[in-house]
């Protein structure tokens, strides 16, 4: 098997000599994790709001103070008239405005009915929803505190518990997604390009005339990328634990084995792509179009698959990243064991075997 070892060594030399690609291979996951973890967050924090207080009494002051003190809001402006609201929104200064009418406290205490208006910029519907919910919650809290001394006959109190991610951090969602994305790109794109490069250079022909069997040629070409992927997995996990504060609640060994399985799936896709592509550019383009976008769209990491039209949901089932994403979330975030993910694992194993079978048998046909 020393011939095989010599081939793997040569392949590692290629990667090592091509410093620019190596740099991208190692840095891409790190940059992505940091970007997605910090910049692309969908958490609502410090949203800029304005308050139009036409009453200026104890009640409105108390509520305003509560809102201004909350970490969700940042009170940037006190408005003086209704016209200001529209103008301030148009300037893009605020995402939400709260309006207290005249005699707010008087109405509250004497007629038992007071109104407060919340106006939100719904050009971003999710954020608008979240903000109005937060504001409503703060106002309700204030109301409860008024009733503290009284015993209402019937009350329902909701108690919320956010499982697995009590702080509602976006990183819990992004880390598994980035892992799927990075492994897919590194393995599939890089291997397909590496194999096609030998075809382009003409070295593939010489190797095929050698006694080395095609099956081993393919395996030898993929092994270095498997190693790079393991390095990438380690980087991503270390970053997520120590920088983003996303803990690995499940079994680390299981997580790594599942990742290696997904890596092999991606490698076999890479081999399949290399069968069809004649140039490195073609291989890169095919990988980008057939892997990057589906992984981004259908893995469930940016958009929940359950909300898609049925046809797209069906399509999403053939995207390996979807299953891997579910596995990582279950194991890493929810701390579940193998029995919770055996089905997804089986699906990935099945996909990998089919892909490997097709790509290796096609590779042989090409020789005949």
């Amino acid at each position: 098997m020393s011939q095989f070892y010599i081939f793997v060594k040569k392949e590692c030399l290629h990667i090592w000599r091509d410093r620019r690609t190596l740099f991208i291979l190692v840095w891409m996951p790190i940059v992505q994790i940091i970007l997605y973890g910090f910049a692309l967050t969908n958490e609502v924090k410090n949203s800029r709001i304005a308050i139009l207080d036409q009453s200026k009494d104890d009640a409105t002051t108390a509520i305003s103070n509560e809102i201004a003190a909350s970490r969700y809001f940042n009170l940037v402006k006190n408005l003086h008239s209704y016209r200001d609201i529209d103008a301030t929104f148009k300037q893009g200064l605020i995402r939400m405005a709260i309006v207290f009418p005249r005699n707010f406290q008087y109405d509250l205490l004497h007629s038992n009915r007071a109104q407060v208006q919340i106006i939100a910029d719904a050009s971003d519907p999710n954020t608008a929803n979240t903000l109005t919910n937060y504001a409503t919650a703060i106002i309700n809290d204030y109301q409860l505190s008024l009733n503290n001394n009284e015993q209402l006959p019937y009350t329902i109190k909701t108690q919320l518990r956010m499982l697995y991610n009590p702080e509602l951090k976006g990183a819990y969602n992004f880390v598994p997604g980035v892992m799927a994305l990075v492994l897919m790109l590194v393995c599939a794109m890089m291997t397909s390009m590496a194999i096609v490069k030998e075809k382009e250079m003409g070295t593939m022909e010489v190797i095929l005339v050698s006694p080395l069997r095609p099956f081993w040629i393919i395996i030898a070409k993929t092994i270095p990328y498997l190693l790079v992927s393991v390095l990438n997995i380690a980087c991503i996990l270390l970053l997520s634990v120590f920088v983003l504060g996303v803990p690995i609640t499940g079994n680390l060994g299981l997580l790594i084995w599942e990742s290696v399985l997904f890596t092999v799936t991606s490698l076999s896709i890479g081999i399949l792509i290399s069968n069809g592509a004649k140039t490195q550019q073609a291989a890169m383009f095919t990988s980008m179009m057939s892997l990057f976008l589906p992984t981004l769209l259908f893995s469930g990491f940016l958009f929940p698959v359950e909300n898609m039209p049925v046809a797209l949901q069906v399509i999403s089932n053939v995207v390996p990243a979807k299953w891997y994403y579910i596995i990582v979330k279950s194991v890493m975030i929810k701390g579940l064991g193998f029995f919770a993910v055996w089905k997804e694992t089986l699906i990935l194993v099945g996909m990998t075997l089919i892909l490997l079978f097709i790509s290796i048998s096609k590779f042989k046909i090409r020789l005949a």
Binding site: R17, V209, S210, P211
Partner: protein, 248 residues
């Protein structure tokens, strides 16, 4: 010519659908011979060569290469031949020594043998001191000579050369042919395709393929006599004009 036959093809044929790329070719090549395999583009040279190298299965006919059958023993054939393609076939991003080590390694040479062969080869090409530079930095002529010596690094019975001197200047081509003669004198059979008719004259015997058939096979001197031409160029043109097939 009398000698041990290392290649013998008998009515060897390859069809792709309706198209007969190689049409019942029959010939023998003996040990140590330099056999020129000529033909216009599209005449079927490459397909014939691929069958002999075990890269492609014949449709019909038979062939033995280095004593092994092309249908059943192509893995054994692969161990006993060397191959150099028309495309430049070394790794540009590896050093000279790494290229030698790789190709010698995949033919299963031991580490000691690889070291010995590498030193021999580097001295033969006067590349001592440069063995750690990337192949990318070598001039084309040197690369082709290096590629040839690497193709025979495992002392194969036969080496197949597919247009090995394409794009190389005449002086380097001369030097390249010296290497070929050298290999031939050591008993390595050389099977070479070329477009350069002056090179055809260097061969012991040449075959000329037209439309998938071998239309002429003899020593260059006899062929020139037979076709009443003063050069192989004239012989080739007379034969190639008969071609019905479009060249590509």
């Amino acid at each position: 010519m009398i000698g041990e036959k290392v290649i013998s093809a008998e009515k060897l044929t390859k069809r792709f659908g309706d198209f007969t790329a190689v049409d019942h070719i029959t010939f023998d090549v003996v040990k140590g011979e330099i056999f020129g395999f000529l033909g216009a583009n599209g005449a079927g040279k490459t397909t014939a060569m691929r069958m002999l190298c075990g890269l492609s299965l014949p449709t019909s006919g038979s062939a033995m290469v280095a004593g092994f059958d092309v249908y059943r023993q192509n893995e054994l054939i692969k161990k006993n031949i060397g191959y150099m393609s028309q495309k430049f076939s070394l790794y540009e991003d590896l050093t000279i020594r790494e290229n030698i080590r790789f190709y010698a390694g995949i033919y299963g040479l031991t580490d000691d043998k690889i070291k010995e062969k590498s030193n021999l080869l580097i001295n033969r090409l006067n590349l001592a001191g440069q063995e750690k530079s990337l192949v990318r930095s070598l001039p084309l002529g040197w690369r082709q000579k290096l590629a040839f010596l690497i193709a025979i690094v495992h002392d194969p019975a036969i080496v197949f050369l597919d247009e090995p001197t394409g794009g190389v200047d005449p002086i380097t081509r001369r030097e390249f042919w010296e290497l070929i003669y050298d290999a031939s004198s050591k008993g390595i059979t050389v099977f070479v395709t070329t477009h350069y008719m002056d090179e055809a004259e260097y061969c012991h015997r040449v075959s000329i393929m037209v439309d998938g058939r071998i239309d002429a096979l003899d020593s260059p001197a006899n062929l020139m006599k037979e076709y009443a031409s003063s050069s192989m160029d004239g012989v080739f043109l007379q034969l190639a004009r008969k071609a019905l097939r479009m060249s590509d």
